[in-house]
Symmetry: C2
Subunit: 242 residues, 2 copies
C-alpha cells in the first residue's frame, strides 16, 4: 500500500512524464516523514498556512464545521495524494484536515514552490495541473451534491473513490477497503447518517454492492455508475500544453 518512490513525484507523474532531474527536484522538496495516528489533526481552519504535504500512507479528509455544529467533509484524500496545495496563496487554512486512520505524511513549505516556479516551467505546469484537477473534482462534486437524490449521491461518492483507487492500483478488484463510517459518508454527502444507512441497505437488497466493517464490495459496477450518473472519466481528459 505504501508508496515506494517519492510520493509527490509519483503523484505529479499522473499528470505528465517526469525526467530524472525533475523527479529529483520534486524528491528534494519533501521533508522527513511523520507518522500520524488515527483521528489526528494535521491542521485546523484558521491556522497559519505555511506548508502543504503529501500523504504516503493512510486516508485523510478535509472538513469544516458549520455554525449549527454539523461537520462538512470537503475532500477525501487517498494514499499518494497531495494535501493543501490550493491554500498556497492564502494566509490561513480554509479547512481543517484530519487522518481517517494511521498514516504517514511529509511536509513541504509553500516557499519551496517558488523555487519550482523559478527553476522549472515544466513542473510549474504540473503544479497547475494538480491544482486544476482537484478543482475539477470539486466542481464535479458540487453538481452531484446540490441537485441529486440520496441514492445518486451515495453511488457517486463510492464510484469516485473506486475510480481513484483504481488509478493508484491497476490490480484493484471490485472489493476494497474504505475506512469511512456512515457518519463520514453523511458528512461528505450532506445527508443524515440514518438516510445513508437506508440507502446502502437498499443498494444491498438490489444487489448493487455490499458494505461491511470498512470494506466495500461492488457487485454491479455498471449499475452503480449509472445510478451515480458518472459521466466519463476525468483522468482521461488531462493533456498538458507542452
Amino acid at each position: 500500500m505504501e508508496q515506494q518512490e517519492s510520493c509527490i513525484a509519483q503523484h505529479f507523474g499522473y499528470y505528465g512524464s517526469l525526467s530524472e532531474s525533475e523527479r529529483r527536484q520534486l524528491d528534494a522538496l519533501e521533508g522527513p516523514p511523520a507518522v500520524m495516528a488515527k483521528g489526528e489533526v494535521l491542521w485546523r481552519e484558521g491556522d497559519a498556512a505555511r506548508d502543504f504535504c503529501t500523504l504516503s500512507r493512510g486516508w485523510a479528509y478535509s472538513f469544516r464545521y458549520l455554525e449549527d455544529g454539523t461537520r462538512h467533509i470537503l475532500e477525501i484524500f487517498l494514499p499518494g495524494d497531495v494535501i493543501g496545495l490550493r491554500e498556497f496563496p492564502f494566509k490561513e487554512r480554509l479547512s481543517s484536515v484530519a487522518m481517517l486512520e494511521e498514516g504517514k505524511i511529509r511536509l513541504i513549505a509553500h516557499r519551496r514552490l517558488l523555487d519550482i516556479f523559478r527553476d522549472s516551467p515544466r513542473l510549474t505546469s504540473l503544479c497547475f495541473a494538480v491544482s486544476s484537477y482537484q478543482q475539477a473534482l470539486l466542481s464535479e462534486r458540487l453538481v452531484h451534491l446540490s441537485r441529486r437524490s440520496a441514492r445518486q449521491r451515495v453511488a457517486y461518492l463510492l464510484f469516485e473513490l473506486f475510480s481513484r483507487l483504481k488509478r493508484n492500483d491497476e490490480a484493484l478488484g471490485d472489493c476494497f477497503r474504505v475506512p469511512l463510517s456512515q457518519q463520514h459518508l453523511a458528512d461528505a454527502l450532506g445527508l443524515s447518517p440514518v438516510h445513508v444507512s437506508r440507502t446502502l441497505t437498499a443498494f444491498r437488497q438490489e444487489g448493487l454492492l455490499k458494505r461491511a466493517r470498512g470494506w466495500v464490495h461492488i457487485l454491479d459496477p455498471q449499475a452503480l455508475a449509472s445510478e451515480g450518473c458518472i459521466s466519463g472519466n476525468l483522468y482521461d481528459d488531462i493533456d498538458l500544453v507542452e
Copy 2:
C-alpha cells in the same frame, strides 16, 4: 462599468501589486476584444480547450446540463473576471459558458501561460492565486449548497454577488443590477424556480431586500449576511508568499 485598463492586469492586481513591466506583460497576452450578444455561448462542454478569456463588460456564467435535462450553473462571472483559467491542463472544456447579457471578452491562448511560467515567477504565483481563489469560492459554495436551507442558499448567493461587485466598485451602494432570472438563481442554487420565488417573497415581506426587473436592493445587509451564514471575507485572506 467597463474596465479602463487591461482587464487581466486589473484582475491580477487584486492578488498582489504589479510592476509596470508585469502589467505590460499581462496586457500583451490579451487578444482583440470580441463583442458577445446576450445569451451567446462562448464554448460548450466537450469542446477543445485551447484558450481562456477575460470578461471586460457584461455578466456570464458557466453551466452543465445533467442527464435529466436540468441545467446547473457552476460559476457566475462579473465584469473583470477571468474565465476558464482552470481548464488550462484539460483537453476539453469541463463546462459550457454563456453570456447573461451583451458584453465584451478577450481571448488568451493557454500556450501563452507557458511564457508567463518561463519568464515571471511572480506572475506565475499570481496565476496560482487567481486559480486557487476561484477554487476557494467553489468549495465555499459546495458547503453552502449541500447542507443549507433554501433561505440560506438564496441569501448566500446574493451576498456573494454583492461582495464581489463591491470589490470591483468601492462606491457600490446597496442597490445594484443583477441580470439573473429566478430560473438562473434556481439553477445556481439547486432549487426549483417556484421555491426561489417563495423565498424571495419571504425576504421582501421581512424587509431584508427588494428585487425587481434585474435589480436587487439590499435593505438589511447584516440580516442577509447572517441568514446566509457569511463567515468573513475570502478577499481579506490572500497573502502571496514573496
